[in-house]
Protein backbone atom coordinates (compact mmCIF):
# COMPACT_ATOMS: atom_id res chain seq x y z
CA UNK A 1 0.00 0.00 0.00
CA UNK A 2 1.42 3.33 -1.07
CA UNK A 3 1.63 6.31 1.34
CA UNK A 4 -1.09 8.18 -0.66
CA UNK A 5 -3.50 5.27 -0.24
CA UNK A 6 -2.70 5.18 3.47
CA UNK A 7 -3.41 8.93 3.71
CA UNK A 8 -6.78 8.38 2.02
CA UNK A 9 -7.59 5.51 4.39
CA UNK A 10 -6.75 7.60 7.45
CA UNK A 11 -8.94 10.44 6.15
CA UNK A 12 -11.82 8.05 5.45
CA UNK A 13 -11.50 6.58 8.95
CA UNK A 14 -11.66 10.09 10.43
CA UNK A 15 -14.71 10.90 8.26
CA UNK A 16 -16.43 7.76 9.48
CA UNK A 17 -15.61 8.60 13.11
CA UNK A 18 -17.11 12.07 12.69
CA UNK A 19 -20.22 10.67 10.98
CA UNK A 20 -20.83 8.10 13.74
CA UNK A 21 -20.30 10.79 16.37
CA UNK A 22 -22.86 13.07 14.68
CA UNK A 23 -25.40 10.25 14.54
CA UNK A 24 -24.94 9.28 18.20
CA UNK A 25 -24.48 12.58 20.04
CA UNK A 26 -27.50 14.33 21.57
CA UNK A 27 -25.74 17.68 22.03
CA UNK A 28 -26.56 19.69 18.89
CA UNK A 29 -23.74 22.20 19.34
CA UNK A 30 -21.22 19.34 19.48
CA UNK A 31 -22.84 17.90 16.34
CA UNK A 32 -22.40 21.23 14.53
CA UNK A 33 -18.70 21.29 15.41
CA UNK A 34 -18.34 17.66 14.33
CA UNK A 35 -20.03 18.54 11.01
CA UNK A 36 -17.41 21.25 10.63
CA UNK A 37 -14.61 18.75 11.29
CA UNK A 38 -16.26 16.31 8.86
CA UNK A 39 -16.27 18.99 6.14
CA UNK A 40 -12.66 19.79 6.81
CA UNK A 41 -11.57 16.17 6.43
CA UNK A 42 -13.67 15.94 3.27
CA UNK A 43 -11.95 19.10 2.04
CA UNK A 44 -8.58 17.35 2.54
CA UNK A 45 -9.89 14.38 0.55
CA UNK A 46 -10.89 16.66 -2.34
CA UNK A 47 -7.56 18.50 -2.27
CA UNK A 48 -5.70 15.20 -2.17
CA UNK A 49 -7.76 13.88 -5.10
CA UNK A 50 -6.74 16.86 -7.22
CA UNK A 51 -9.96 18.88 -7.03
CA UNK A 52 -8.84 22.20 -5.50
CA UNK A 53 -12.00 24.07 -6.59
CA UNK A 54 -14.26 21.64 -4.76
CA UNK A 55 -11.89 21.62 -1.78
CA UNK A 56 -12.10 25.41 -1.48
CA UNK A 57 -15.88 25.32 -1.66
CA UNK A 58 -16.02 22.55 0.94
CA UNK A 59 -13.75 24.47 3.32
CA UNK A 60 -15.59 27.78 2.90
CA UNK A 61 -19.18 26.52 2.81
CA UNK A 62 -19.02 23.23 4.71
CA UNK A 63 -16.53 24.02 7.44
CA UNK A 64 -17.21 27.76 7.62
CA UNK A 65 -20.63 29.19 6.85
CA UNK A 66 -22.83 26.15 7.55
CA UNK A 67 -21.31 25.80 11.02
CA UNK A 68 -22.17 29.43 11.79
CA UNK A 69 -25.71 28.96 10.47
CA UNK A 70 -26.15 25.72 12.46
CA UNK A 71 -24.92 27.39 15.66
CA UNK A 72 -27.19 30.38 15.07
CA UNK A 73 -30.20 28.11 14.70
CA UNK A 74 -29.15 26.10 17.78
CA UNK A 75 -28.89 29.34 19.76
CA UNK A 76 -32.56 29.92 18.94
CA UNK A 77 -34.05 26.44 19.28
CA UNK A 78 -32.09 25.00 22.20
CA UNK A 79 -29.08 22.79 22.46
CA UNK A 80 -30.41 19.36 23.42
CA UNK A 81 -32.06 16.89 21.10
CA UNK A 82 -35.29 15.60 22.62
Amino acid sequence: MSPTDLFDLVLLALLLTCAIGIARLKDLAACAILFSAYSFFLCLVWAHRGAPDVAMTEAAVGAGITTVLFLTVIARVGRREK
Binding site: R49, D53, M56, A60
Partner: protein, 236 residues
Amino acid sequence: MNKRKFARVFTMALLAALAAPLMYGVLELPPPGQADAPAHSNVSAGYIEHGAELAGSENLVTGVLLNFRALDTFGEVLVIFTAWLAVSAVAGKGSETGHDSTPPSPVVDYVVRLLGPFIAIFALFVIVNGHVLPGGGFQGGVLLGAMLILLSLALGRESVADLVPVRSWIWLRAAGVLAFSLVALLGLPMTGYLFGLPIEPALRHALMIVLELGIGIGGGAVLAGLYFAIAGVESS
Protein backbone atom coordinates in the same frame (compact mmCIF):
# COMPACT_ATOMS: atom_id res chain seq x y z
CA MET B 1 -39.17 -10.96 20.18
CA ASN B 2 -41.01 -7.77 21.09
CA LYS B 3 -42.22 -5.17 18.63
CA ARG B 4 -39.38 -2.69 19.11
CA LYS B 5 -36.69 -5.27 18.69
CA PHE B 6 -38.40 -6.60 15.58
CA ALA B 7 -38.53 -3.09 14.09
CA ARG B 8 -34.83 -2.65 14.74
CA VAL B 9 -33.85 -5.98 13.18
CA PHE B 10 -36.18 -5.32 10.24
CA THR B 11 -34.58 -1.90 9.62
CA MET B 12 -31.08 -3.36 9.75
CA ALA B 13 -32.07 -6.09 7.29
CA LEU B 14 -33.57 -3.52 4.90
CA LEU B 15 -30.48 -1.35 5.12
CA ALA B 16 -28.22 -4.33 4.48
CA ALA B 17 -30.36 -5.28 1.46
CA LEU B 18 -29.94 -1.72 0.16
CA ALA B 19 -26.22 -1.55 0.92
CA ALA B 20 -25.33 -4.83 -0.82
CA PRO B 21 -26.29 -3.76 -4.40
CA LEU B 22 -24.75 -0.32 -3.80
CA MET B 23 -21.46 -1.90 -2.73
CA TYR B 24 -21.62 -4.24 -5.70
CA GLY B 25 -22.11 -1.21 -7.96
CA VAL B 26 -19.09 0.52 -6.46
CA LEU B 27 -16.95 -2.57 -7.12
CA GLU B 28 -17.87 -2.33 -10.80
CA LEU B 29 -16.56 1.24 -11.11
CA PRO B 30 -13.26 1.68 -12.96
CA PRO B 31 -10.27 2.46 -10.70
CA PRO B 32 -9.72 6.18 -10.00
CA GLY B 33 -7.56 7.94 -12.56
CA GLN B 34 -7.92 5.31 -15.30
CA ALA B 35 -7.59 7.28 -18.54
CA ASP B 36 -9.97 5.25 -20.73
CA ALA B 37 -12.81 5.15 -18.19
CA PRO B 38 -16.13 6.34 -19.71
CA ALA B 39 -16.16 9.40 -17.45
CA HIS B 40 -12.85 10.60 -18.88
CA SER B 41 -13.18 9.66 -22.52
CA ASN B 42 -16.13 11.45 -24.16
CA VAL B 43 -17.04 15.07 -23.44
CA SER B 44 -14.42 15.49 -20.71
CA ALA B 45 -11.62 14.55 -23.08
CA GLY B 46 -12.78 17.32 -25.42
CA TYR B 47 -12.97 19.82 -22.55
CA ILE B 48 -9.48 18.93 -21.39
CA GLU B 49 -8.01 19.14 -24.88
CA HIS B 50 -9.70 22.30 -26.21
CA GLY B 51 -11.50 23.69 -23.15
CA ALA B 52 -8.95 26.31 -22.10
CA GLU B 53 -8.80 27.75 -25.61
CA LEU B 54 -12.56 27.54 -26.35
CA ALA B 55 -13.76 28.88 -23.00
CA GLY B 56 -11.03 31.45 -22.55
CA SER B 57 -10.25 30.24 -19.04
CA GLU B 58 -7.13 28.38 -17.96
CA ASN B 59 -9.01 26.93 -15.00
CA LEU B 60 -11.17 24.35 -16.74
CA VAL B 61 -13.64 24.22 -13.85
CA THR B 62 -14.38 27.91 -14.32
CA GLY B 63 -14.57 27.41 -18.08
CA VAL B 64 -17.23 24.75 -17.64
CA LEU B 65 -19.12 26.76 -15.01
CA LEU B 66 -19.25 30.09 -16.84
CA ASN B 67 -19.12 29.06 -20.47
CA PHE B 68 -19.96 25.48 -21.44
CA ARG B 69 -22.55 25.05 -18.67
CA ALA B 70 -23.55 28.67 -18.05
CA LEU B 71 -27.22 27.74 -18.03
CA ASP B 72 -26.64 25.28 -15.14
CA THR B 73 -24.74 27.93 -13.22
CA PHE B 74 -27.61 30.36 -13.83
CA GLY B 75 -29.83 27.73 -12.21
CA GLU B 76 -27.50 27.50 -9.20
CA VAL B 77 -27.48 31.27 -8.77
CA LEU B 78 -31.29 31.27 -8.91
CA VAL B 79 -31.40 28.49 -6.31
CA ILE B 80 -29.23 30.55 -3.93
CA PHE B 81 -31.41 33.64 -4.41
CA THR B 82 -34.59 31.59 -3.96
CA ALA B 83 -33.15 30.07 -0.77
CA TRP B 84 -32.84 33.55 0.71
CA LEU B 85 -36.37 34.45 -0.45
CA ALA B 86 -37.72 31.32 1.26
CA VAL B 87 -35.80 31.89 4.50
CA SER B 88 -36.78 35.54 4.69
CA ALA B 89 -40.41 34.62 3.99
CA VAL B 90 -40.40 32.13 6.88
CA ALA B 91 -38.06 33.82 9.38
CA GLY B 92 -38.57 37.44 8.41
CA LYS B 93 -35.84 39.68 7.09
CA GLY B 94 -34.45 40.02 10.57
CA SER B 95 -36.86 42.59 11.95
CA GLU B 96 -36.74 41.00 15.41
CA THR B 97 -33.96 42.87 17.13
CA GLY B 98 -33.65 40.69 20.22
CA HIS B 99 -30.19 39.41 19.35
CA ASP B 100 -27.87 42.36 19.59
CA SER B 101 -24.28 41.35 20.01
CA THR B 102 -21.92 43.47 22.05
CA PRO B 103 -18.15 43.23 21.56
CA PRO B 104 -16.97 40.49 23.95
CA SER B 105 -13.56 42.02 24.56
CA PRO B 106 -11.20 44.68 23.17
CA VAL B 107 -9.00 41.89 21.82
CA VAL B 108 -11.75 40.40 19.65
CA ASP B 109 -12.79 43.88 18.57
CA TYR B 110 -9.25 44.80 17.53
CA VAL B 111 -8.51 41.50 15.77
CA VAL B 112 -11.75 41.63 13.77
CA ARG B 113 -11.11 45.24 12.72
CA LEU B 114 -7.61 44.23 11.66
CA LEU B 115 -8.65 41.05 9.80
CA GLY B 116 -11.77 42.40 8.06
CA PRO B 117 -10.09 44.28 5.19
CA PHE B 118 -7.69 41.40 4.54
CA ILE B 119 -10.55 38.91 4.28
CA ALA B 120 -12.34 41.26 1.88
CA ILE B 121 -9.26 41.64 -0.31
CA PHE B 122 -8.65 37.89 -0.33
CA ALA B 123 -12.30 37.33 -1.28
CA LEU B 124 -12.01 39.73 -4.22
CA PHE B 125 -8.74 38.08 -5.25
CA VAL B 126 -10.41 34.66 -5.26
CA ILE B 127 -13.39 36.03 -7.23
CA VAL B 128 -11.50 37.81 -10.03
CA ASN B 129 -8.80 35.14 -10.40
CA GLY B 130 -11.31 32.32 -10.84
CA HIS B 131 -10.29 31.80 -14.47
CA VAL B 132 -6.62 31.11 -13.68
CA LEU B 133 -6.52 29.80 -10.11
CA PRO B 134 -8.73 27.42 -8.15
CA GLY B 135 -11.68 29.30 -6.76
CA GLY B 136 -14.05 31.78 -8.30
CA GLY B 137 -17.32 33.53 -7.62
CA PHE B 138 -18.88 30.96 -5.31
CA GLN B 139 -15.85 30.53 -3.06
CA GLY B 140 -15.04 34.23 -2.93
CA GLY B 141 -18.67 35.04 -2.28
CA VAL B 142 -18.72 32.75 0.72
CA LEU B 143 -15.64 34.54 2.05
CA LEU B 144 -17.38 37.91 1.61
CA GLY B 145 -20.44 36.57 3.43
CA ALA B 146 -18.25 35.20 6.22
CA MET B 147 -16.61 38.59 6.62
CA LEU B 148 -19.99 40.34 6.97
CA ILE B 149 -21.14 37.73 9.52
CA LEU B 150 -17.88 38.11 11.45
CA LEU B 151 -18.29 41.90 11.57
CA SER B 152 -21.89 41.57 12.69
CA LEU B 153 -20.97 39.00 15.37
CA ALA B 154 -18.02 40.88 16.83
CA LEU B 155 -18.78 44.56 16.28
CA GLY B 156 -22.56 44.53 16.23
CA ARG B 157 -24.95 45.05 13.37
CA GLU B 158 -24.28 48.80 13.10
CA SER B 159 -20.83 48.09 11.65
CA VAL B 160 -22.42 46.16 8.76
CA ALA B 161 -25.04 48.88 8.27
CA ASP B 162 -22.21 51.42 8.05
CA LEU B 163 -20.49 49.31 5.43
CA VAL B 164 -23.47 48.37 3.25
CA PRO B 165 -26.39 50.80 2.87
CA VAL B 166 -29.58 49.10 4.01
CA ARG B 167 -31.45 49.82 0.77
CA SER B 168 -28.84 48.21 -1.47
CA TRP B 169 -29.16 44.73 0.12
CA ILE B 170 -31.91 43.50 -2.17
CA TRP B 171 -29.93 44.52 -5.28
CA LEU B 172 -26.74 42.97 -3.94
CA ARG B 173 -28.58 39.70 -3.26
CA ALA B 174 -29.92 39.71 -6.79
CA ALA B 175 -26.48 40.56 -8.26
CA GLY B 176 -25.80 37.00 -9.46
CA VAL B 177 -29.17 36.62 -11.14
CA LEU B 178 -28.90 40.09 -12.70
CA ALA B 179 -25.35 39.53 -13.98
CA PHE B 180 -26.29 36.20 -15.55
CA SER B 181 -29.46 37.60 -17.15
CA LEU B 182 -27.48 40.52 -18.55
CA VAL B 183 -24.71 38.36 -20.01
CA ALA B 184 -27.23 35.84 -21.36
CA LEU B 185 -29.11 38.58 -23.22
CA LEU B 186 -25.90 40.27 -24.40
CA GLY B 187 -24.96 36.95 -25.96
CA LEU B 188 -27.91 37.21 -28.39
CA PRO B 189 -26.73 40.28 -30.37
CA MET B 190 -23.04 39.37 -30.06
CA THR B 191 -23.04 35.68 -30.95
CA GLY B 192 -26.64 34.76 -31.75
CA TYR B 193 -26.93 32.46 -28.73
CA LEU B 194 -28.17 32.93 -25.19
CA PHE B 195 -25.12 32.82 -22.86
CA GLY B 196 -22.87 33.02 -25.92
CA LEU B 197 -19.62 34.72 -24.93
CA PRO B 198 -17.81 36.65 -27.71
CA ILE B 199 -14.63 35.16 -29.18
CA GLU B 200 -12.68 38.40 -28.75
CA PRO B 201 -10.48 37.62 -25.69
CA ALA B 202 -10.61 40.99 -23.87
CA LEU B 203 -14.39 41.26 -24.13
CA ARG B 204 -14.91 37.64 -23.15
CA HIS B 205 -12.60 38.07 -20.19
CA ALA B 206 -14.51 41.18 -19.08
CA LEU B 207 -17.86 39.40 -19.29
CA MET B 208 -16.52 36.43 -17.33
CA ILE B 209 -15.37 38.80 -14.59
CA VAL B 210 -18.84 40.38 -14.57
CA LEU B 211 -20.32 36.90 -14.07
CA GLU B 212 -17.80 36.03 -11.33
CA LEU B 213 -18.43 39.32 -9.50
CA GLY B 214 -22.17 38.79 -9.80
CA ILE B 215 -21.94 35.28 -8.33
CA GLY B 216 -19.56 36.46 -5.60
CA ILE B 217 -21.44 39.56 -4.47
CA GLY B 218 -24.83 37.87 -4.80
CA GLY B 219 -23.67 34.76 -2.93
CA GLY B 220 -22.00 36.75 -0.16
CA ALA B 221 -25.02 39.01 0.33
CA VAL B 222 -27.39 36.03 0.38
CA LEU B 223 -25.29 34.15 2.96
CA ALA B 224 -25.07 37.23 5.18
CA GLY B 225 -28.81 37.69 4.67
CA LEU B 226 -29.48 34.09 5.76
CA TYR B 227 -27.50 34.73 8.93
CA PHE B 228 -29.29 38.04 9.59
CA ALA B 229 -32.67 36.41 9.05
CA ILE B 230 -31.95 33.45 11.34
CA ALA B 231 -30.17 35.43 14.05
CA GLY B 232 -32.78 38.19 13.96
CA VAL B 233 -30.29 40.92 13.12
CA GLU B 234 -31.81 43.76 11.15
CA SER B 235 -30.48 44.19 7.63
CA SER B 236 -33.18 45.65 5.42
